[in-house]
């Protein structure tokens, strides 16, 4: 079996008295798309933050292509090839769409190549017309795409999407799903989402988080039929 692209071993995060992530073993293959679901507070975003270096785990390891990145700086991890679209869009609001994407593209290209890459990315996320507008003035759905464009422009190997369809209209959700499928042709993705319709449009394998640890990992159809999964969403305690 080929070595996994990303692997976590016994990964844990404690904040004061709260155990946000508990002994998580997780593995993702090259080019795989995995969905991460679970009720609010299950630890998904915290898990992501440990993958990108925004948080240092209190215990356990994160391995990217076999390299231990558990305590690396966020900017070094980004350079290794992990990109994240955060839950609350984190973009450069005071700059134009073009400048936003340029900042990302120019990390791997220079001069004219960078400008060309920016134009390509603008088209890919459908924002060519809005290119000169200030990101802070865009609608929510558009800001999500700006962030997506930012992340893609650095050409990462692994892309983490934290609720990419949140707050979007039906059309925007469809478009985002299409974009995600297209990205998955060449890149690995982990997508956190609540929107089950969206998940069904993109996913094959789903990992379910609950109270900081992995409850079950299975295909989309099996997950949807799993009574434990239904219980944690409805509030009943899952069997220990």
């Amino acid at each position: 079996m080929a070595a996994p692209l990303l692997q976590t071993q016994d990964l844990s995060m404690h904040f004061g008295g709260v155990r946000a992530v508990r002994h998580v073993d997780f593995s993702l293959a090259e080019g795989e798309l995995r969905c991460l679901i679970g009720p609010n507070g299950a630890g998904k975003s915290t898990f992501f933050k440990m993958l990108t270096g925004q948080l240092e785990p209190t215990h356990g390891q994160v391995l990217f292509r076999g390299q231990d990145i558990s305590h690396a700086h966020a900017h070094d991890i980004a350079r290794l090839g992990i990109g994240i679209k955060t839950q609350v869009p984190s973009v450069f609001d005071g700059l134009s769409v073009r400048e936003n994407i340029w900042l990302a593209a120019s990390r791997i290209h220079s001069g004219d190549k960078a400008r060309g890459a920016v134009d390509d990315m603008l088209e890919r996320v459908g924002l060519t017309d809005a290119a000169e507008r200030l990101v802070g003035q865009l609608a929510h759905g558009q800001r999500q795409w700006v962030e997506l464009g930012l992340v893609l422009a650095t050409d990462p190997e692994l892309i983490l999407l934290d609720e990419p369809a949140a707050g979007m209209t039906h059309e925007e959700v469809n478009k985002t799903a299409e974009l995600v499928r297209e990205i998955n042709r060449t890149k690995a993705l982990i997508v956190v989402e609540h929107d089950m319709q969206f998940i069904r449009m993109i996913a094959k394998q789903v990992t379910v988080f609950n109270q900081g640890s992995v409850l079950v990992e299975d295909s989309v159809e099996n997950i949807m039929r799993n009574p434990q999964v239904r219980d944690i969403y409805l509030g009943k305690q899952a069997a220990a």
């Binding site: 990108t52 925004q54 700086h73 966020a74 900017h75 980004a78 350079r79 990109g83 994240i84 955060t86 984190s90 973009v91 450069f92 609001d93 005071g94 700059l95 400048e99 340029w102 900042l103 990302a104 120019s106 990390r107 220079s110 930012l150 650095t154």
Partner: protein, 357 residues
């Protein structure tokens, strides 16, 4: 390409105006006016140093006067010891830069942010003030230069043409040097800010976390920006020591620090022209308010304190509350609003054409 042509036009205007100013002033005005304008030019360079660090870099530095003072003192001390001005000039830039690099490393690699940056930088300049203020006795000297304590260091020899000790710069020459330096600084910074480096530090200012997640190390970029700003301020300090032939510890004081910040706020934080305008405007106001001598001596501050603090205080409060973006950006916004209302009127006259298009 409209924004870009406007940009180039602006640069052209500044360039032409600057050169005209450089050439015409000594011909049109008396020496005392030239002297006054020289210090305005020097302070404008100081303002630009903070504009870079704070306006573009987003680094809240309350102690920019520390680098200014270090530059002035370094020049004075080196000049008394060496006698020929090339090395003192170099040191006057390198010592503050090194100090900024050290302090910057301490702060940025310690992940200190915002408010705490302000407190630490303020404290640093106060440490310098307190330390140097108390070095009045003859036992406090570096080589043949006495530090002078609260008396300051008088009689600082002026710069000379490189390599030629016997050819010191005269007052008119000082004006040319200061103005040319200001123009060079302005255009140099414009180049820097248009470069990849410049655009990245603006990105870091806008959203440090996102810049980090894209793979940029914000600590390194902030350190570089802070060091360049420190070097610029040090250079301004060297010119200042030359201009008044005198330096005293008040250069490290709270009042000087406050001044620099006020220039940038009043002029406009996100621009370069703004702080220049703010600086020169306020300097002029200070002079008009009753300081009959060129700024520099320690008893000037005693005089100024009678009037200027009141007025500056009101200006600062008013600007923060009412014109938070500063003069130049607000005027820019006003201009844009006027232009766009002209545009609106045009389209209203030709509605059919727009629909057909």
């Amino acid at each position: 390409m409209n924004a870009r042509t406007l940009n180039l036009l602006g640069l052209g205007v500044v360039g032409v105006a600057g050169i005209a100013f450089l050439v015409l002033v000594p011909r049109l005005f008396e020496l005392d006016v030239v002297l006054e304008l020289t210090v305005y030019m020097i302070m404008a360079i100081l303002a630009l140093s903070l504009a870079l660090i704070w306006g573009y870099g987003g680094i809240l530095c309350f102690g920019q006067s520390a680098f200014f003072g270090l530059g002035a003192y370094t020049y004075a001390i080196a000049m008394f010891n060496i006698g020929e001005s090339t090395i003192p000039l170099l040191l006057a830039v390198l010592v503050p830069a090194a100090f900024a690099a050290l302090l910057g490393y301490f702060m940025f690699y310690g992940r200190i942010s915002d408010v705490y940056l302000g407190v630490i930088t303020l404290t640093v300049t106060l440490i310098l003030f307190n330390s140097i203020n108390s070095t009045a006795g003859p036992e406090f000297h570096i080589g043949s230069a006495r530090l002078g304590g609260f008396n300051g260091i008088p009689g600082i020899p002026p710069l000379n043409f490189p390599g030629n000790k016997g050819a010191p710069i005269d007052l008119e020459g000082m004006f040319y040097l200061a103005t040319a330096s200001l123009l060079a600084t302005y255009f140099g910074l414009r180049l820097l800010l248009a470069s990849r480096f410049g655009r990245i530090i603006v990105g870091i200012r806008e959203n440090e976390r996102r810049a980090e997640l894209l793979g940029y190390d914000p600590r390194a970029y902030k350190l570089a920006t802070f060091t360049i700003g420190g070097a610029l301020a040090g250079f301004a300090g060297c010119l200042f020591a030359n201009w008044g032939n005198f330096v005293s510890p008040t250069i490290f004081g709270l009042a000087q620090s406050a001044q620099i910040i006020i220039w940038v706020i009043v002029g406009g934080r996100g621009t370069l022209i703004g702080p220049i305008v703010g600086c020169i405007g306020i300097q002029w106001l200070t002079t008009a308010l009753g300081a009959n001598q060129p700024s520099g001596g320690s008893d000037l501050w005693a005089k100024i304190f009678a009037n200027a603090p009141l007025i500056f205080g009101v200006i600062l409060i008013a600007f923060v509350l009412l014109v938070p973006k500063g003069l130049v950006p607000t005027l820019g916004d006003l201009g844009q609003w006027l232009l766009s209302s002209f545009g609106k009127r045009k389209t209203r006259l030709q509605p059919k054409r727009a629909e057909e298009g």
